[in-house]
Assembly symmetry: C2
Homo-oligomer: 433 residues x 2
Amino acid sequence: MKPVRVGICGLGTVGSGTFNVLNRNAEAIAARTGRIITIGQVGARRDNPACDTSTTEVSRDIFEVARNPDIDIVVELIGGYDTAKDLILTAIEHGKHVVTANKALIAEHGNEIFQAAREKNVTVTYEAAVAGGIPIIKCLREGLAGNSINWLAGIINGTGNFILTEMGDKNRSFGDVLKEAQELGYAEADPTFDVEGIDACHKLTIMASIAFGIPLQFNKAYTEGISKVTPADIRYAEELGYRIKHLGIARHNGAGVELRVHPTLIPASQPLANINGVLNSVVVNADAVGEAMLVGPGAGAEPTASSVVADIMDIARTMEAPQTNPKPLGFDSDRLQDTPVLPIADTHSACYLRIHADDHPGVMHAITSILGKQGINIEAMTQKAVRESDGYADIVILTQKVQESLMDQALAKIEQLDDVQAPVTRIRVEAMA
Amino acid sequence: MKPVRVGICGLGTVGSGTFNVLNRNAEAIAARTGRIITIGQVGARRDNPACDTSTTEVSRDIFEVARNPDIDIVVELIGGYDTAKDLILTAIEHGKHVVTANKALIAEHGNEIFQAAREKNVTVTYEAAVAGGIPIIKCLREGLAGNSINWLAGIINGTGNFILTEMGDKNRSFGDVLKEAQELGYAEADPTFDVEGIDACHKLTIMASIAFGIPLQFNKAYTEGISKVTPADIRYAEELGYRIKHLGIARHNGAGVELRVHPTLIPASQPLANINGVLNSVVVNADAVGEAMLVGPGAGAEPTASSVVADIMDIARTMEAPQTNPKPLGFDSDRLQDTPVLPIADTHSACYLRIHADDHPGVMHAITSILGKQGINIEAMTQKAVRESDGYADIVILTQKVQESLMDQALAKIEQLDDVQAPVTRIRVEAMA
């Protein structure tokens, strides 16, 4: 059979990793795929010194790759929305299979892209879009496909996990560690996507669609970042037997799907609690398997390339019969469910509250009375030493599970107390069981 | 398209789990596969009260299922060697695809079975044969297929891991915990397969073939059980910063492939060190991804069924073009490597030694002198309190990496010392880095 010709668009971190892995492991890749896979063309605005492209055809116009009749698989690694989407749709229009690592694009425009691919009977894969080198898409879509999934939870942003790990290990502030993460290259100059949970939410949106057979609905997900977490919260949580992780959680609760990214207290004994630094990890809880966990690098040139190349190999193997591939979201698009994504106000969580309050005999009573009137049960409550700087103390409360909207109302009332300094810190708690 | 008809042979633990998962999740399975999957026939010597087979055709002759012209996929869940092999070969001969959970059969007769399947252009899959519900076969064969794998290490026998965990947590002897494991149903009446590492070695053999593209070579693997590990060893290891796990290790060291199952000291900080109880876990170290880890249940009716059903779904999806499936061992059988499996004597490991010796001034000198003459460097050495019962003390030594055959010679000499009680306990140490 003739070689499969890959066109790589974008020669940044992941593009260069993909270029190098495909070349370095070419022989074993051919032995595994049954087809020789060659890089037919690279589209990149500039060269990357990490890649020797001297014997490769390079175009400065990525759209030339998408239209190149000699290219079988277009690999989109330029990132971003508009141009990337145009590129992918152009490639599909020209009958090419597509591999992408673009989580933002898939989460926000995947439905449209998959529809276009369906009409042209080509395959679009995106393993590298979620959790870098961890083959979680394949696991959800194929390896665990016989299961009815109850929930999944993941540490799916290495930057945020690095920051929380450092804050906890070294008692450092969020801002301080963020600055270091930027210097180390773990965080972008504009860290919003990572620390506000948008990146994690893109990945969660994709995983939830596969897990529950629902269309991609990024806009309905709840997202909360880690910037308000303090070293004191991490310490208090530790004293209570918990760690704070920035989790993406998707749960089918019967009525609908919860889709939320937020800082979360999880029991220190939970495996996810011990995933530190820039690692990613996803736990899947499902009816047949029970619980399975995957751990690995969530970013980086070659870890991400590992997933891109796996996708290329899957496509190369099935190129003569693309209809044998799994559907992009696991479920056939005609068979996706209309299970609603629940507004955060309708979800239920236990909560950790840190209330900074004047050390005054009546304040505890006032707070517990507000919680009691909202029907919120207290699991644990401790008052921490008064801070000399302001004469205020931290009151730390663990509540039992409560509907989010009731907690919102209680917090609004607590924040109106004269003795309480607003805002109150509220971090959701997950038993993960 | 007409439904895909599955024939389940064997209605024991895994068979009943498969029967129930296929029925319970039938609707979602059809939506994911694009084909309705029905149980066309069950072959079992007796009914299983866990399954309602009242509307299913049941035969007391499993070979009837293998020859049934209405069956597309034969699922072999009877276990064992001869009959299972005959059944699978009969099914292949009749043009049926095959799914099996039989690790012993695949590890020892897989080459022959895969050759037969190749000649008939049918698919044979066996995800459930390794690490139960963890989709490790798919991860190695597809998800990490672009990598050149350096090594993999796994806790791949839940019984052994349960026993070691209990011994360590509760300072109990091997025999004592084994008895409890038998009562709990975690261990068989004859526990040899589990505690002597044969079961783990079957799984390791299969993973190593996929990882390194070599034929299955169970007979060349080294296997050592956990029965000689004592609570004292676990405690001493802990003091040195290690845990003892029964690992299957496959490593490509340039000259060849190491393939070995034995108790192993690993640093307590390693993720594998914290996998406890009946859980299974596999760590893969590879050139592109770096390190990835999977954790999950290694046995049980529905966890194992999760993998069996995933295999059935893969086959159902590709039934019109089975040649698009990955090769059974990842690599095309024409392209398997003749990389030798190294004899254990040629491998190199650091070692933990526990020497039970008379508390006599010359004995330390005699031991270190023997090690020194063999060129074995000592990393750490401590003498533990004398046991009142026999007046002997435990001398615990950690050595640097040394060729196995040199260590064998040193141990033979140490065991000949008058003051030393033979045998010396030797447990290999892996830094896993």
